[in-house]
């Protein structure tokens, strides 16, 4: 992304609605002079392969990018709107523009308070919130010259490996994708009723016996089917299954499955708020935390710390995102068991260079903030 793109979008964002005066914006600034400049841009990320899940089939995804500049320091943020929750990049940009005066006038050092206020004023729009929170934390980290993993007291050597996702496709393409994924020791497979699951798994197994993690994305509707499916998958070196049934099914249905299989079950679409985590963990074995779902680094940190209080599994996932979001998530990854942060590997026009993959192990640079650079 070049400077001109940012300027262009900044001009469009300039028409910020006049906000009613409130105590927050009126408070005197602490420690930082002047105002921030908050620029947004809708960025189209092109996929290397057409991406098929039970929900959609696409060749690109639009994300919202944020550039937060204050005191000569710039923080970058990104949010990938989740279609499942009816979010899109245009509305994410509108959400940010609707509180632009707050974002530009508030002290970034009051980032906790600022995000609470964002949540109070704008319901939903988690991608927009993620983009702002990530940009703020990048700014904070740069300001104190500390990588975010260090800011949170974590050891970057503790990052897990990431899975590499094999999307649904024809057997020929699945086979080719699997071969291309040779450097990645664990694969994630999207399964569901729109493809013959068994043949998809068998196709992968015809090429490799490395561990698989399967994501049904709410694809099934019948708990008996799920148990049958899992019983079959348990013989195929599958480590766990994400979200077999729709998020809205009674938890008793998940418990019913839980009692009949040994494979761990991870909640993804079912988990959309911090307060759901303790309840979900009564039946699920873990939760999939995504920055775009929680609304940024610090809310994901809360989700992870809540799940950890129960000693259950935590997975860090991503949407189709650039190295901005995936690096932000990677900074939290020393706290989790499983990572699915392959976004940058799936796109062909990553605007950033960030987290690196050493045979799939996430490698974070010892650089301030996110530690990302423009590509």
């Amino acid at each position: 992304m070049n400077r001109r793109d940012w300027m262009k979008s900044a001009a469009a964002a300039g028409a910020a609605a006049a906000l009613p005066l409130d105590s927050f914006a009126a408070l005197p600034q602490q420690g930082s002079g002047g105002r921030a400049k908050v620029e947004t841009e809708i960025k189209r990320l092109n996929l290397r392969h057409t991406w098929t899940t039970t929900m959609a089939s696409d060749t690109f995804r639009d994300v919202i990018m944020v550039r937060y500049t204050r005191d000569g320091v710039t923080g970058y943020g990104e949010g990938a709107p989740i279609i499942r929750y009816k979010e899109n990049a245009v509305n994410a940009q509108k959400a940010i523009n609707s509180i632009l005066d707050l974002l530009e006038s508030a002290d970034p050092w009051e980032f906790d308070k600022l995000m609470i206020e964002f949540n109070r004023r704008v319901p939903g729009e988690h991608a927009a919130k993620a983009a702002i929170d990530i940009a703020l934390m990048d700014w904070i980290g740069k300001k104190v010259n500390v990588p975010i993993y260090r800011y949170l007291g974590l050891d970057p050597k503790d990052t897990p490996v990431t899975t590499f996702t094999i999307g649904m496709d024809t057997p020929e393409v699945v086979k080719q994708k699997t071969l291309e994924a040779a450097p990645y020791p664990v694969l994630k497979v999207k399964v569901g009723p729109n493809v013959p699951d068994e043949s998809m798994i068998d196709t992968i197994r015809s090429v490799t016996d490395k561990p698989l993690r399967v994501d049904a994305n709410e694809g099934w509707t019948n708990k008996e089917d799920v148990v049958r499916k899992i019983e079959w998958l348990e013989k195929k070196n599958v480590e766990f299954m994400e979200q077999p049934l729709p998020a809205a099914v009674p938890l008793e249905d998940i418990r019913w499955i839980r009692e009949r299989v040994s494979m761990p079950l991870i909640a993804d679409e079912a988990c959309t708020e911090a307060k759901m985590i303790p309840t979900l963990l009564q039946v699920y074995d873990g939760v999939n935390v995504k920055l775009d779902k929680a609304g940024g680094i610090m809310e994901s940190y809360r989700w992870i710390k809540m799940a950890r209080a129960y000693g259950k599994k935590v997975m860090l996932g991503c949407m189709i995102s650039s190295s901005c979001t995936c690096t932000a998530a990677a900074h939290l990854s020393p706290l989790v068991d499983y990572a699915d942060l392959d976004g940058p590997l799936l796109i062909s026009n990553d605007p950033f260079r960030g987290v690196q993959y050493d045979k799939a192990k996430l490698i974070l640079a010892d650089k301030p903030g996110l530690g990302i650079t423009l590509a």
Copy 2:
């Protein structure tokens, strides 16, 4: 960190993983040279007034003080062992000494990992953990030249007022203490079966009509008594009640009370672990978070963020502590509804100068770390 360093640490990490016992201390240091010096001292805090609760009557309390020095920067920490949980200062000091090599060799920037390891090696001993965590966060804040409230993204203007505690005593002394508490707009009153509650409240009410918060410290055993007591207190401008029944009573007993009175009920002794919070908040209206109970600033931060996920009330309390612990708690206080951080006001030999009280409102200095100085 350059590529060579990464290779080096990857190699070291691989070797450490093979070690059966202690991979933590064997890992290479990140970013800080040398070792820390960790000094502990049992400090006797003298009370201005003899302190009576349903549990004990004392003229002093012993706390564990920690001084953490590394790279020329010193962080201070304090933990007040909670008698209720069978903790004492001697054992707290032993707990710290038992992992002294870890504490001195670990990178303080891996404070999250370090506290997880402390918890893994030493069960209980929350005062010891609080002292270490507070000292580490003081060190971190000083290292990046940022007050802890800022490090956590909070606005120091959002601090609440603290209550001032009136201990159980003869009517004459209670009356005198209440008069001395004139600057404090909200009083906390310890009640329980060992004193005639009604006369204690009536004595205070003979001098002032300011709001009261009452703490029963598990003093009653009978839920019918509690309802009767609360019905009486509801006419006396009492804002809420802490822990009316023993921590171990079935939550249904609290619910039974909850359904019969309007006064909010706050869990204190019942809440000893993060994972209890969502369950307790199904019947209690809030929780009392204490650094000495949770084990420091960052674990208290987790407790507060968990409770906040349910939109319930959060109180920050303290034991008999100096300005070290109470200032540490005050840094978190912009996140909470109620503060009971009067420790420094109750002792006559505070070793530190820290949080100030402006007509009971907590005032935090814009100084790095805790912002405390030796008295």
